[in-house]
């Protein structure tokens, strides 16, 4: 048992709205007519496509394999035929299309030959290597490839394994239902992670608004061969943020410039653990996930959904939306985003779909100026000064924004949530972050170009001096025997140089009669071209 819980600064208590979707057990969805699988369902490199349009594939068959170390594979969620590989709308805040594989299910839902393994006797390195083929990513919404996080680490070992069952965002209940109904799978997944990482202790953090899940998890943990503690944390958004949860459970403050593994901690979502279990125990890659469908739907609940299923099919399964539905939100109301269409597919990061309506999420009045009330600063879990950051972002004082640790902002939305002036603060921070990153990139490119130019000028100067030295040597030693060779070489070099100079002169330049400003512009343009060429070479 955990004897002591810690605290973090700030946080908010938005209305939970979790009861609506927890009244019924997890339901299955019929296989839809078409599945669309975006290749980019994770953080990292785009995976490499391994199928062609027209191919027949089985459930669990590899469609695209991980490319590079940070990447995740994509598998066929059911058996059927690949219809197309092209850009389609995906669930992303940008609303832009991205490359996706579309497949038509054949209705048989036939698995590939599954390899059930006895992981307790497998080599750890080999197991982690095989995770590349599992397609498992962080299922809490972060979608970071899990194979990297389960590597028995080189420089720092994991002392404490933390399992995130906090599920702090309002409306979302898929982890709650997963813990209630599939606690066994989660605990076995934890055992595997424990086997791979060898931590000294292992904790599960669950918010106190999920007593049923906590009870079931406790029972499952008691049956486990590994010692796992279930810790109940107070319901306070954003306790499910990894660094907040680490702080709550261990009192450790992960330094801003370090990762949690650097201080001996690793955090996984409960659903990720269940996926790890299914992969090693049954050989099943990630082809489905639990999704909460709630908000303005007639029959909210949780569904076990094949990846690639259109959102519209999910809404249908929840008995359809109420007439005043104005949009779909993927994720929670605090950090989620509006979907560009009802036809975008469920991806690995889709934990929740909320049908929104003006009644549930009333439109905000136009923002008033900041009155410096600092409610945002009180609510900020990172102890930032959002009112100052807002001021800097708005006035494009980006250096100041960086000084005030803009990049420590986790975009949890607590500041916007409490703002009496209803300022969309997080939007300002996102904007400022992207501006700063763009500026940094431009600066880096410019300094690289300058360095190269300096180097080139230095080289030219050096060659000139070397030539001059040779000429001098020639003049001095022309009469000596030993100097003949050198003199010859110098003569050849000089001839080459002359030829080069002539060649340069032959290039037609219609710049003879131009004014100095125009000449300066031309020089400027040439310099930019050179810089651009240099960057491209890089």
């Amino acid at each position: 048992m955990i004897s002591k819980l810690f605290k973090f600064h700030g946080g908010v208590h938005p209305p939970e709205h979790k009861l609506e979707s927890t009244r019924r057990p997890i339901r299955n969805l019929p296989i839809p007519e078409m599945l669309v699988l975006p290749l980019r369902q994770h953080v990292g490199n785009l995976p490499k496509i391994r199928v062609q349009a027209g191919d027949h594939v089985l459930k669990g068959q590899l469609l695209a394999e991980a490319e590079g170390s940070v990447s995740a594979a994509v598998h066929a969620p059911t058996s059927g035929t690949v219809v197309s590989i092209e850009e389609q709308l995906i669930p992303h805040p940008s609303g832009l299309p991205d490359i996706s594989i579309a497949m038509r299910p054949d209705g048989e839902d036939r698995w590939i030959a599954l390899e059930k393994t006895d992981w307790r006797h497998r080599d750890r390195a080999e197991m982690v290597a095989s995770l590349r083929e599992s397609g498992i990513v962080g299922m809490g919404g972060a979608a970071f490839p899990t194979q990297i996080k389960l590597r028995p680490s080189g420089k720092s070992s994991v002392r404490t394994l933390i399992i995130n069952g906090a599920e702090c965002e309002p409306y979302i209940t898929c982890d709650d239902l997963l813990m209630r109904e599939r606690a066994e799978e989660i605990v076995k997944g934890i055992e595997i992670a424990h086997y791979l990482l060898g931590p000294e202790n292992c904790l599960i953090g669950i918010e106190d608004n999920k007593p049923e899940a906590a009870r079931v998890m406790r029972e499952a943990c008691a049956r486990s061969s590994v010692k796992i503690d279930v810790a109940i944390v107070p319901t306070l958004y954003p306790s499910g943020d990894a660094r907040r949860l680490i702080g709550l459970l261990t009192g450790i403050e992960v330094p801003s410039d370090k990762r949690s593994t650097d201080v001996g901690l690793q955090v996984f979502n409960v659903a990720t653990m269940a996926a790890v279990y299914r992969y090693f125990e049954h050989g099943e890659p990630v082809v489905s996930r639990l999704v909460t469908v709630t908000g303005n739907v007639k029959d909210p609940g949780n569904f076990d959904v094949l990846l690639g299923t259109p959102m519209s099919a999910l809404l249908q399964a929840a008995d359809g939306v109420l007439p005043d539905t104005d949009a779909l939100i993927m994720g929670g109301p605090m950090m989620g985003f509006r979907l560009p269409s009802r036809e975008v597919p469920v991806i690995k990061a889709t934990n929740c779909i909320i049908a929104s309506s003006p009644r549930l999420f009333p439109p905000q009045p136009p923002a008033l100026p900041c009155i410096r009330c600092a409610r945002c600063a009180e609510a900020c879990p990172v102890d930032l000064q959002p009112q100052e950051l807002y001021w800097f972002a708005k006035s494009k004082n980006l250096e100041k924004a960086r000084d005030y640790q803009l990049f420590d902002c986790i975009e949890c939305g607590c500041c916007s949530y409490v703002c009496p002036s209803r300022i969309p603060l997080v939007e300002f921070y996102r904007y400022a972050k992207s501006e700063i990153l763009a500026q940094d990139k431009a600066k880096e490119a410019a300094s690289l170009a300058r360095e190269r130019n300096d180097f080139r000028l230095a080289r030219i100067e050096r060659e000139k001096q070397e030539r001059a030295a040779k000429h001098a040597q020639k003049a001095a030693g022309a009469k000596t025997e030993a100097g003949i060779d050198d003199a010859k070489k110098a003569a050849i070099a000089a001839a080459l140089e002359r030829a080069k100079a002539q060649k340069a002169e032959v290039v037609p330049q219609n710049t003879d009669d131009l004014s100095s400003t125009v000449l300066a512009e031309i020089a400027d343009t040439d310099a930019r071209r050179a810089a651009a060429a240099n960057t491209q070479e890089n």
């Binding site: 008033l368 009155i371 930032l384 420590d408 009496p420 209803r422």
Partner: protein, 339 residues
């Protein structure tokens, strides 16, 4: 709503301002009860002037009028100024003070959220410097006043300087306790002797201590509603009381005690309603403590050694100047950064 979060969970600016106004109501009721209805005319004049000038300036500045008038901040400024002014002052004094507060101190600096100084205190300071004599026309507490004016008689006095035939100005007006202490000390009277006069009550002035108590009640409501945090009232009242107690302890004959300081003048109004103005105050908790403690010390110093009987307005304005510095100095450590 286009951006997450799609929920919002705190009172809007209008609600905050409305609650501040509500918290002033007990004080206003006590004021009328103890000093007569004159203050209501001042409140009305200031309110109308504030709203009209705010609307005009918003129009001249090409800003939307309705949302900014609805935010309630102009009314808060108007009420605070009206409560700080002597209720027997002529109507134009209230109008000039309010105009200066809203037009110059607030709108010309950019309106809501942009004024570096507390607008009500700017209005008050301008009047105090320009019309010092008129700023001393305080009504006598009804309990000891020679005569009482009705609402209509107040009206005539404020707008036309006309009193009923049988009533002289001295019968209805009186010096404030702080003023009395100042003049009497100059005349080499001892503190015990001074405060034994009938105009003094248990803690502060007779009657005015009841008003101050009502402000305290309103302030506690604001704390309970989390409209303000404890930092400013605690640090301001604490430092004022500490200074007073220290000097009173050393030389009780020449320095007023803590109770008198807390329950006289604008101290309580300052603690909960003036120094707590978020726009012109610091934002960090530590900064609020430094800011408010500074106001407390300054208020005490001006009252004790300065040329004016009360020091709240100048103390607040002086600390307003320091806010950017205080904020910069008191930035809290960000999570995950070195201690």
């Amino acid at each position: 709503m286009n951006y997450p979060p799609y929920l919002s969970g705190s009172a809007s600016v209008s609600v905050i301002m409305l609650k501040v106004l509500l918290a002033l109501v007990p004080g206003i009721i006590a004021y009328v009860w103890m000093f007569g209805p004159g203050v209501l005319i001042g409140l009305m004049l200031a309110s109308i002037t504030a709203l009209a000038s705010e609307a005009l300036l918003l129009k001249l500045r090409n800003r939307p009028i309705a949302p900014f008038l609805m935010d309630g901040s102009a009314l808060v400024t108007a009420w605070l100024l009206a409560l700080a002014l002597p209720p027997l002052a002529p109507w134009w004094l209230v109008v000039v003070g309010t105009l200066f507060a809203i037009v110059v101190a607030k709108q010309l600096y950019g309106g809501l959220g942009y004024n570096p100084f507390n607008p009500a205190m700017i209005g008050y300071a301008v009047l105090l410097i320009s019309f010092p004599l008129l700023m001393t026309q305080w009504p006598a507490p009804l309990a000891i006043a020679g005569a009482k004016l009705s609402f209509i008689e107040h009206w005539h006095f404020i707008f036309g300087r006309a009193l009923p035939d049988n009533i002289a100005i001295d019968a209805i007006s009186s010096a404030t306790p702080l003023d009395t202490i100042k003049t009497q000390l100059r005349l080499h009277h001892g503190m015990a002797e001074i405060t034994a006069a009938p105009m003094f009550g248990t803690l502060g002035g007779k009657g005015s201590e009841i008003v101050v108590g009502a402000y305290l009640l309103g302030g506690l409501y604001l704390l309970q509603q989390r409209i303000i945090s404890w930092h400013v009232p605690a640090a301001f009242l604490g430092s004022l009381a500490l200074m007073a107690a220290l000097f009173h302890g050393v030389d009780a004959d020449h320095y007023a005690g803590a109770g008198l300081h807390l329950f006289s003048g604008a101290a309580m109004l300052c603690a909960f309603f003036i120094a707590t103005d978020p726009v012109s105050g610091p934002t960090t908790p530590k900064g609020k403590l430094i800011f408010a403690a500074g106001i407390g010390v300054l208020t005490w110093a001006i009252r004790t050694w300065g040329g004016y009987p009360d020091g709240v307005a100048f103390a607040v304005l002086f600390k307003n100047i320091c806010v950017p510095l205080i904020d910069a100095w008191t930035q809290p450590r960000v999570f995950g950064h070195p201690k």
